[in-house]
């Protein structure tokens, strides 16, 4: 979805076991739910666009 909108350099970091030891752990395990850091960039304007 990010790429479809126009974002570039899309990256996903390593998973974190967000719910480990919490009351929601069992449900998280059931659906393999983890937390992730995401990164994306809105492309810079090229020179043509900047002056155009």
């Amino acid at each position: 979805m990010l790429s479809e909108i126009g974002f570039v350099d899309v990256r996903i970091g390593p998973p974190v076991d967000t719910f480990k030891g919490a009351d929601g752990e069992q449900k998280a395990r059931l659906f393999q739910v983890y937390g992730y850091p995401f990164f994306a960039r809105k492309p810079a304007l090229n020179k043509e666009n900047r002056h155009g």
């Binding site: 899309v10 967000t18 449900k27 995401f38 809105k42 492309p43 810079a44």
Partner: protein, 205 residues
């Protein structure tokens, strides 16, 4: 994964929003209550936040933190950057951001829950921070102008929005060309049954 194209979620967006608001109102008022997720300093450490930053913050800035990962782990912020936090809650990530961008930087937190806004504004006053501001608003309609942010951050919020494309499109609008989106969120490795997806109560359970 949340970044892949997905069909619209079969859930009432307004009902979901009210449910989320109710849950996070509780977290603002009673941060040490019983929730299905961790909160506060324990969670910040668990998610790998810099101990030095977190130790500097008063309890009020950290206790209602309910993020799911660390949006600063793939890239830290630079001095002087302008940052918007989508769903800023009690303000924890905004205060971490302020420490990174320094006095020349600016951070705007946007949240829809009155109790969270009151808490984050109060903490900003206590800390004497003039370059962090908290505004009431929705992720789908951010109360900021076009192309104004160097970085948009968010933590554990977008998964709770029914229309993720609307949220990402709004983030695109407020980012300057060349700006970055750094967010943390959950993703499931196994599909959730459609019946569960339609049940608003299960989204925040």
């Amino acid at each position: 994964m949340a970044v892949e194209s997905e069909p619209p979620i079969p859930v009432d967006a307004n009902a979901l929003r009210e449910d989320v608001k109710s849950k996070y109102r509780e977290v603002a008022i009673d941060p040490h209550g019983k929730y299905h997720f961790h909160t506060g300093r324990y969670l910040a450490k668990h998610l790998g936040y810099d101990d030095e930053f977190v130790a500097w913050l008063p309890d009020a800035a950290v206790e209602s933190f309910a993020g799911v990962a660390n949006p600063f782990s793939l890239q830290t912020l630079a001095k002087g950057e302008h940052v918007i936090d989508v769903g800023s809650g009690g303000g924890f990530d905004c205060f971490v951001a302020v420490l990174q961008v320094g006095a020349r930087g600016k951070v705007i937190g946007v949240d829809m829950t009155e109790e969270m806004l009151a808490k984050s504004r109060s903490t900003a006053n206590v800390l004497g921070l003039s370059n962090v501001e908290f505004r009431e608003g929705l992720a789908e309609h951010l109360p900021v102008e076009d192309n104004c942010a160097d970085v948009v951050i968010s933590n554990g919020v977008i998964n709770l929005c029914a229309d993720k494309r609307a949220v990402f499109s709004e983030i695109w609008r407020v980012l300057r060309p060349g700006g970055r989106l750094q967010f943390a969120d959950i993703a499931n490795g196994k599909p959730v049954p459609e019946g569960a997806l339609k049940n608003v109560d299960l989204w925040t359970a």
